[in-house]
């Protein structure tokens, strides 16, 4: 079954990859480019750049006020946190969201510092659209 599926799809997949690449956001640095794949794999179950899903939309998060995306129902814990997301603060958040804001509704941690750096570089490379 899957073999049929595979042959039917390979040609199309190449096209999709090509068009995804064309639509790729300004990835200024190599870190951000690596970060895109890591972001999709590690964060993409719950987050997107442009839509509120299980977690809030991420475009423009670097420099944005914590818990400020319209239409997303944040936890009281994250609403209380205050301040702005800086790369350093995001790095702490990804090491332990519950340590940063006990009672927040994100639990995923990213243990590898290089992975955190690339993901944060990707987020920084996708600022808010005017």
């Amino acid at each position: 079954m899957l073999r049929i599926l595979a042959t039917a799809v390979v040609a199309g997949a190449v096209l999709v990859v090509a068009s995804l690449a064309a639509a790729a956001p300004a990835a200024a640095t190599g870190e951000a480019a690596a970060g895109q794949a890591l972001y999709l794999a590690r964060c993409g179950g719950c987050h997107s750049l442009d839509a509120n899903r299980i977690g809030p939309a991420h475009r423009g998060v670097v420099g944005r006020r914590v818990a400020s995306v319209p239409g997303y129902a944040y936890s009281p814990a994250l609403k209380r946190l205050g301040g702005v997301w800086t790369p350093a603060r995001l790095d702490q958040w990804l090491q332990g969201p519950q340590a940063v804001a006990p009672g927040a509704r994100m639990f995923l941690t990213v243990g590898d510092p290089a992975v955190r750096r690339d993901i944060i570089a990707y987020l920084a490379a996708n600022p808010a659209t005017p």
Binding site: M1, L2, R3, I4, L5, A6, A8, V9, V10, A11, G12, A13, V14, L15, V16, L40, A41, R42, C43, G44, G45, C46, S48, A51, N52, R53, I54, Q98, R105, M106, F107, L108, T109, V110, G111, D112, V115
Partner: protein, 195 residues
């Protein structure tokens, strides 16, 4: 599943050799009854924090179910691919039911799904134009789900809940592997495909 195969007298090795790894894997998936009850569930309550983790997982399963239903009804899939998609849909429904039950048993109120319109918008489903698009999209969701499960196990306090997350992540990993293969993707060389 493997026990079933063996009980019929087919050795695992000859099965893999004769039918090929990929079709064997499909056979394994197809052998899982859609609403298969998860193994042993504990009767005690998970902690409030574990319930919060499970609520996020349930929201993720709701999203996956909607994605499979909408993509499955799109007319973009061939009958063969649709059959596989429906098997995966059944797994996600089984996951949803197990999570909702455990959340309720632990004193929580299971989160409800959003509307299909909301999912269509937030997942940008209208951008999917053909079967290859759908397969790549589904592979992405399954990869994200697998990492979400694996990446949250360490936050869980209750062992039975952690075991459930292991089961959920493993199911999603099988889905990802088959979809990724169908999309012509390769398997990463380095160990630890998910974190």
């Amino acid at each position: 599943m493997i026990e079933n195969t063996d009980a019929k007298g087919t050795s695992r090795r000859s099965l893999l050799q004769s039918a090929g790894l990929v079709s064997a894997a499909v056979g394994l998936v197809a052998a899982v009854p859609a609403g298969a009850a998860p193994v042993r569930r504990h009767t005690g309550g998970a902690t409030a924090s574990d319930v919060a983790v499970m609520q996020g997982a349930l929201a993720l399963e709701h999203e996956g179910i909607a994605a499979y239903k909408i993509a499955g009804g799109s007319g973009l899939l061939s009958p063969e691919v649709l059959a596989v998609a429906l098997v995966f849909l059944g797994h996600h429904e089984g996951h949803r039911d197990a999570l909702a039950k455990l959340i309720a048993r632990s004193g929580g109120k299971p989160v409800e799904p959003k509307s299909n319109d909301e999912y269509i918008k937030s997942l940008n489903i209208a951008a999917l134009k053909n079967q290859a698009d759908v397969i790549r999209f589904a592979a992405g969701l399954e990869q994200g789900a697998t990492n979400a499960y694996v990446g949250q196990v360490a936050a869980l306090q209750d062992k039975a809940t952690a075991h459930l997350f292991g089961q959920l992540g493993a199911d999603e990993a099988v889905h990802w592997a088959l979809l990724n293969n169908a999309a012509g993707g390769t398997v990463p060389k380095a160990a630890f495909l998910f974190s």
